[in-house]
């Protein structure tokens, strides 16, 4: 993976709150290649959304980024000025949020909002705005696009609203589409339709996709490669197939064992304990207080990624001696 569209290097993010500093991201490394579909999997509060918001520079004001680089096309997003940044957001990256109801403005029609998105993303003068907006909706395969254009968000169902958001995002996303739990509020049959739509659209346009999700099943069915995140650290990365067939990190294994299977037979007891407080995260590997396999080095220093071959990387000292050919970044 030499050419990367997005390359996050050693990213740290902290939130300054009353009575301390929340050290949320703790040296995150993350890469997305061109046209690649990457999953970012982790439980609530593990920093998935924070990491992706940092890419678009839409973190809340309390956030600080003391260390790290976010390279998009080799340019550091963190050093861009306001003008370049809005150009980057307008023309290259877009994001679909979890809750379509709060992502849409309730007092404007879908058409008005969609046209604004298109107008600010191109430099050319748009003459027939209705035609352009219709084209964008049809591209996102919305049935009855004409009626949709004149509807207010309240007049649409949850699934339709999310599809409208996808139309907004896909209209401008040339390089990268970040989908932040796009189907959490939807029913499973609608979830299936929405994800198929996202997958088809990115494949058709050659856009890269980052799917942030807590549902392991969704990651398996949508992505090529998966990052597993725990308490602000990337702990495992491999092709989707590898992660699900041969998970290595104790956390990934515990998580997978907790997923109820359609084949039945019960499931594991879950992972004891809960995600650490970010004010005083445990030293060393942040998972070690909950880990059954912990040993001496775990509490001393955060393990780096060990390369296990086949592009499978895992941040756990259990695999220190099994890794293939030296350490990687």
């Amino acid at each position: 993976m030499k050419d990367a569209l997005l390359d996050i290097r050693n990213l740290h993010v902290e939130y300054k709150v009353y009575g301390g500093l929340l050290k949320v991201l703790n040296g995150v490394n993350f890469r997305v290649g061109f046209g690649e579909k990457v999953g970012l999997v982790g439980e609530t509060g593990c920093g998935k959304t924070t990491a992706m918001k940092a890419v678009l520079r839409i973190l809340p004001q309390l956030a600080r980024i003391p260390k790290g680089e976010i390279l998009v096309h080799g340019k550091d997003v963190l050093k861009l000025n306001a003008e370049d940044l809005s150009e980057l957001r307008g023309a290259g990256l877009s994001m679909i949020f979890q809750d379509p109801t709060s992502a849409l403005n309730p007092v404007f029609t879908i058409g008005q909002q969609l046209f604004d998105v298109i107008r600010y993303s191109t430099k050319e003068k748009v003459t027939d705005k209705r035609e352009v907006a219709l084209k964008a909706l049809r591209e996102a395969r919305l049935p009855d696009a004409e009626r949709m254009l004149d509807s207010y968000p309240v007049q649409l169902s949850g699934g339709m609203r999310q599809r409208a958001c996808i139309a907004f995002a896909i209209a401008t996303a040339r390089d990268l589409l970040i989908a932040d739990e796009p189907t959490t509020n939807l029913d499973v049959t609608i979830q299936d339709q929405v994800l198929r739509l996202i997958r088809d659209l990115v494949e058709q346009k050659g856009t890269s996709l980052i799917l942030i999700t807590h549902s392991l099943g969704l990651a398996r069915e949508t992505t090529d490669r998966v990052y597993v995140m725990y308490a602000g650290n990337m702990i495992e990365m491999a092709s989707t197939e590898e992660v699900f067939e041969q998970p290595l990190h104790p956390y990934t294994r515990g998580l997978l064992a907790s997923v109820p299977r359609l084949t039945g037979g019960g499931f594991a007891e879950g992972i004891p304990g809960r995600i650490p407080e970010y004010k005083q995260p445990p030293p060393g590997c942040r998972f070690h207080p909950r880990c059954q396999h912990r040993f001496e080095p775990c509490s001393k220093e955060m393990p780096p990624f060990f390369d296990m071959g086949n592009g499978h990387q895992v941040a756990c000292y259990l695999y220190q001696n099994e890794q293939e050919g030296g350490q990687s970044d």
């Binding site: 609608i190 699900f244 109820p260």
Partner: protein, 337 residues
């Protein structure tokens, strides 16, 4: 209390109906619309059973739960618990019925009072329902309840806000257990939680069910979870039960096209599961508004197998295999797909 009920059936619902009138009047026109939230459902739960009631939002599964726990009173039909009529709101039920039927809600953040300590929260049902025998200490009983849900006794001095989501839900379970119920309605108890926490809570609830010989009505949208938990499964669609069957038959031969659509939409993690998913039917369309239910079979707007008959005639429940009921004109066709 009458302990005589047929076939060991602790809860029986017959032609249960709940309509909500909605005022759509405007300045010029008076108009009332009826939402048919639950439209004539029949089911029965045997003692010690766990029935999974599965459906999309708007299918009427929560309304059914609320009727059983007494938050709504049914518009029509019959609802019997241990042979006694419970087709009325909880305020009009006798004390022993209120004690016997408990409910656990989806979001423990809003079902526990944030201003009370865990001790107060658990004490309340004990006092209201006179669960403390003479000479027994209430503190002892609160600690016992916490132990049953595997929480440390010191938690009784804390407030809900200081607990994690999973721990709060365990407190809600302990509160439900405080009155020694025989029937618990679980309304999506883990859909707000992460899978590792869900695993722990569900396993604990299953142990508690065995230990106290409880009957569960488990309401959820998660079929993979039901595969591991429920003894029987009922699928609801637009206020009606589409299919009801013992869990093993249900997953081996799903017969309703809607069930097939649900199963094909579930995201799964292993190859063995992928092989189980029906490949022929894919998800399409959306659930219509319950104010505007289509004539004939209510699934006809999305069904891939629909024929003329489906638009004119509402199918009736048919027992196609032993104890496997389906409400579809062409359920046999699904088998040959």
């Amino acid at each position: 209390m009458t302990e005589h009920y047929e076939n060991n059936e602790i809860l029986v619902a017959k032609k249960l109906v709940k309509y909500f009138p909605i005022n759509r009047s405007s300045l010029f026109k008076r108009e009332w619309v009826v939402v048919k939230a639950v439209d004539g459902i029949d089911f029965a739960l045997a003692k010690g059973e766990c029935l999974g009631l599965v459906g999309e939002s708007g299918s009427g599964k929560s309304t059914t739960a609320y009727m059983i726990s007494g938050m709504y009173s049914p518009t029509g039909g019959e609802l019997k618990f241990k042979g006694e009529d419970i087709a009325c709101p909880a305020v009009r039920r006798q004390q022993h019925l209120k004690k016997d039927i408990q409910m656990i809600f989806q979001d423990p953040g809003s079902s526990l009072n944030p201003r009370r300590s865990i001790n107060d929260i658990l004490e309340m049902p004990l006092l209201v329902h006179n669960q403390i025998k003479k000479g027994e200490s209430i503190e002892r009983r609160v600690i016992e309840l916490l132990e049953q849900v595997e929480l440390p006794a010191a938690y009784r001095f804390r407030s809900p806000a200081t607990l994690g989501g999973g721990e709060r839900q365990m407190v809600a379970v302990a509160r439900a257990l405080a009155t020694n119920p025989s029937f618990i309605v679980l309304d999506e108890p883990t859909s707000a939680l992460d899978v590792s926490v869900q695993a722990k809570i569900i396993n604990m609830m299953m142990r508690i069910q065995k230990q106290f010989d409880l009957t569960y009505l488990f309401i959820t949208h998660d079929l993979s979870l039901m595969r591991n938990v429920a003894i029987r499964i009922a699928i609801m669609y637009l206020g009606k039960i589409a299919e009801i069957a013992p869990a093993t038959d249900f997953f081996k031969t799903p017969l309703h096209p809607y069930t097939q659509m649900l199963l094909s939409s579930i995201p799964v993690v292993t190859k063995a599961e992928m092989a189980l998913k029906p490949a022929k039917i894919r998800s399409a369309g959306e659930i219509p508004s319950p104010t505007n239910v289509p004539p004939g079979c209510s699934f006809n707007t999305r069904c891939p197998l629909k024929q003329e008959l489906c638009f004119t005639e509402d199918p009736v429940m048919r027992e196609i295999m032993p104890r496997h009921f389906v409400r579809c004109h062409f359920a046999e066709m699904v088998l040959t797909l």
